[in-house]
Every structure is written in structure tokens, then in C-alpha cells.
């Protein structure tokens, strides 16, 4: 077993997250899939930090976590306000700007 296994696992997790973003209609679940993609990238960063023997990768992963937290806060607030006006959390119903 080598470090490659971790990288392949991260790639598969990233793909599952991407497919989830494409397939799911509920905006909150779409957000969760984005979180999964960010987590997979974090796993890659930490594996490479271990491989190169520097802590820089871990610091980038830390920044990814912080940005993810900020993104979740804003995203969920937007979903809340969309839900207030449209009474739905589905991404199909937020189509006012379409026409």
C-alpha cells in the first residue's frame, strides 16, 4: 500500500460529489455535495503534504476549511431567503432570472 491509494480514494470521493451536484435537485443537498468535494481535495492536500515533507499542504487545507465554513454560512442564508420567497428549496424553482 502506498500513498497513491489515498489519492485515488480522494479522486473517487470528488467524483461522487460532482455527480451529486449534477443530479440532486434539493439546494441543501447540492451544498452538501460541494462540501464533499472540498473534503476530497483536503485529503489530497494532506497526502501531498505528507509526501513532500512540508506542512504547507496542511495550511492550505486549513484555509480550505475556513473558506468552506464561510461559504456554507452564506449559501445556507441564501437558501433560507429563497425559501422564504419561493416556499421551496429546489434548485428548479429558483428560475426568476431565466426569462
Amino acid at each position: 500500500m502506498t500513498l497513491t491509494y489515498y489519492l485515488v480514494l480522494a479522486a473517487i470521493l470528488f467524483t461522487i460529489g460532482a455527480v451529486g451536484v449534477l443530479v440532486r435537485r434539493n439546494a441543501i443537498v447540492v451544498f452538501m455535495c460541494v462540501e464533499l468535494m472540498l473534503n476530497a481535495v483536503n485529503l489530497t492536500l494532506i497526502t501531498f503534504a505528507r509526501s513532500t515533507g512540508t506542512v504547507d499542504g496542511q495550511i492550505i487545507a486549513l484555509f480550505v476549511m475556513v473558506v468552506a465554513a464561510a461559504e456554507v454560512v452564506i449559501g445556507l442564508a441564501i437558501i433560507m431567503s429563497i425559501y422564504r420567497t419561493r416556499r421551496s428549496a429546489s434548485v428548479d424553482d429558483a428560475n426568476l432570472l431565466k426569462y
Partner: protein, 272 residues
């Protein structure tokens, strides 16, 4: 440095937690209920946190479990409960063939990226973090964070403040003073509806403590008004229902708590 040595313990942990993480990710994508999706995602995130600890990043492993599963996922669940748990996905495919296309894309993407990474990093022998990945991990991170990445760290603080204020602004609802309805107006409005009284509570009396147990009507049926929103009403085993005077025995007989084989000659009051 003598390179990364992956021991048996790490291999075992990988082969146990890796499938769990994968199953969590797949369960999140495929479960129809959004709350189940969140719980599956928590499974994946905890496994990834353990991976971080194994991969000589103990600080990030703790941060993963505290920040992601402890704060972010709770925020997700909080919003799910606010928005309405029953706002689950529709099964209708709005774009024709989208799911098949997404599945093909997923398999192709995973194959390409996975195979590419596997080929590129084949036989990768890393240097390993040494003490920086062990007890000195926090010190090593702090040294870098407050020197080389200081500007980014400061900007992160600004980002968090902007995010917090933005969330407040997005979710704030401005009400004109005096526009709030009084208790009297609310009461009048309620008496104009078909149902001025409260809904019947769930049947949590005799044999169930779950809010999913529906309330019973005198004829033994369940009343749909008592169903909790978003929970499937459960079938609760009911008390034995005597149909006539002759069947009304002692309380023991009604509850079914008699001895299975009472001794002959005794009337049940004396137990061996």
C-alpha cells in the same frame, strides 16, 4: 529522512475506513431524504478526519471533526429543519437523460482522474513529515501560518466577518412597527377557520413513546390529524380489546401478563 513507511495498522485502517467513506458518499447522493444525506455525509467526514490523523495531520483531523461534523453539519441540519424536512427531492427528471449523462460523466471522470493519479504517483515514496506530523504538528503549522501565510490568515479573518454579517443581512426580516398581529387578531383569525381547536396530540400513552405513534379514536382507528409531519405513522400494537362483558377479565388477562402455564389447582395468585 527515510521516507514514508506505511505499516500494517495504517493499511488496516485504510481498508476499513475507505469503504466506509465511500459508502457514506454514495449514500449521501442516493438517499432521497435530505436528513439521511446529511447523516451519510457526517459518516464520510468523520472517516476523513481519522485519515487526517493517520496521515500525520492531527491538528487538521481534530479541526475536521470539530468544524465540519460539529459545526457545519449541525448548521446544515438546522437549516433542513427550518426549511422543512419534507422538502425532499422530486423524482421527476427535469432535463431528459440528465441522470444517465451525469453517471457516465462520473464514471469517466473517476476513471480518468483516478487512473491518471495512480499512474503519475506510482511508487511514490514521500519524505514524510517526521516530528512535524507528530507532537510538533501544531507548532509547525503555527510557525508557517504566522510567518509565510500571515497575509492570507489576516484575510481569512476578514472573510469570516463578512460572511457572518452577510448571513445576518440575508436572513434578517424587517418588520414595520405595529405590523405584528396581536393575540386578539390571531385568535379571531383562527376562529374563522374550520378548526379553531388544537390538533390532537400523538398517541404516546399506552405502548409507545414515539411521536410517530398516531392517536387512537374510540373505535380503534387512527386519526390522521395526529400524524406528525414528515414522519411515517407507525403501527403500534394495541391493548387487547374486549368485545363483550364476558371477555372482560382481570387486569392481568387484559394486559396479557398472566403466567404462560399456571399451575393446576391454583387460581393464579400463587406463583411457584
Amino acid at each position: 529522512m527515510n521516507g514514508v513507511v506505511i505499516g500494517t495498522g495504517e493499511a488496516v485502517a485504510f481498508w476499513v475506513l475507505g469503504p466506509i467513506a465511500l459508502a457514506g458518499a454514495l449514500g449521501m447522493v442516493f438517499s432521497r431524504n435530505a436528513v439521511h444525506s446529511a447523516l451519510w455525509l457526517i459518516t464520510t467526514m468523520v472517516s476523513l478526519g481519522v485519515f487526517y490523523v493517520i496521515q500525520s495531520a492531527p491538528f487538521l483531523g481534530a479541526a475536521q471533526i470539530i468544524v465540519y461534523t460539529g459545526a457545519i453539519m449541525i448548521l446544515f441540519l438546522f437549516v433542513l429543519m427550518l426549511v422543512g424536512r419534507d422538502s425532499s427531492d422530486s423524482v421527476v427528471e427535469t432535463l431528459r437523460g440528465q441522470r444517465v449523462a451525469a453517471a457516465v460523466l462520473g464514471v469517466g471522470f473517476a476513471g480518468l482522474v483516478g487512473a491518471g493519479i495512480a499512474r503519475a504517483t506510482e511508487g511514490l515514496v514521500g519524505t514524510g513529515l517526521g516530528a512535524d506530523g507528530g507532537n510538533d504538528n501544531i507548532t509547525a503549522i503555527a510557525e508557517l501560518l504566522y510567518t509565510r501565510y500571515l497575509l492570507a490568515f489576516e484575510l481569512t479573518g476578514g472573510l469570516l466577518i463578512v460572511a457572518a454579517v452577510g448571513a445576518l443581512i440575508y436572513t434578517h426580516v424587517e418588520r414595520d412597527p405595529g405590523s405584528r398581529r396581536t393575540q386578539k387578531e390571531l385568535s379571531r383569525a383562527r376562529f374563522l377557520t374550520d378548526r379553531p381547536q388544537t390538533l390532537p396530540g400523538p398517541g404516546v400513552y399506552a405502548r409507545a413513546t414515539s411521536v410517530a405513534a398516531p392517536a387512537l379514536l374510540p373505535d380503534g382507528g387512527t386519526t390522521p390529524d395526529s400524524f406528525a409531519t414528515g414522519i411515517e405513522p407507525q403501527e403500534v400494537d394495541q391493548m387487547p380489546r374486549p368485545t363483550g362483558r364476558g371477555q372482560l377479565g382481570s387486569p392481568d388477562a387484559a394486559l396479557g401478563t398472566l403466567d404462560p402455564a399456571p399451575l393446576e389447582g391454583t387460581d393464579g395468585g400463587h406463583r411457584p
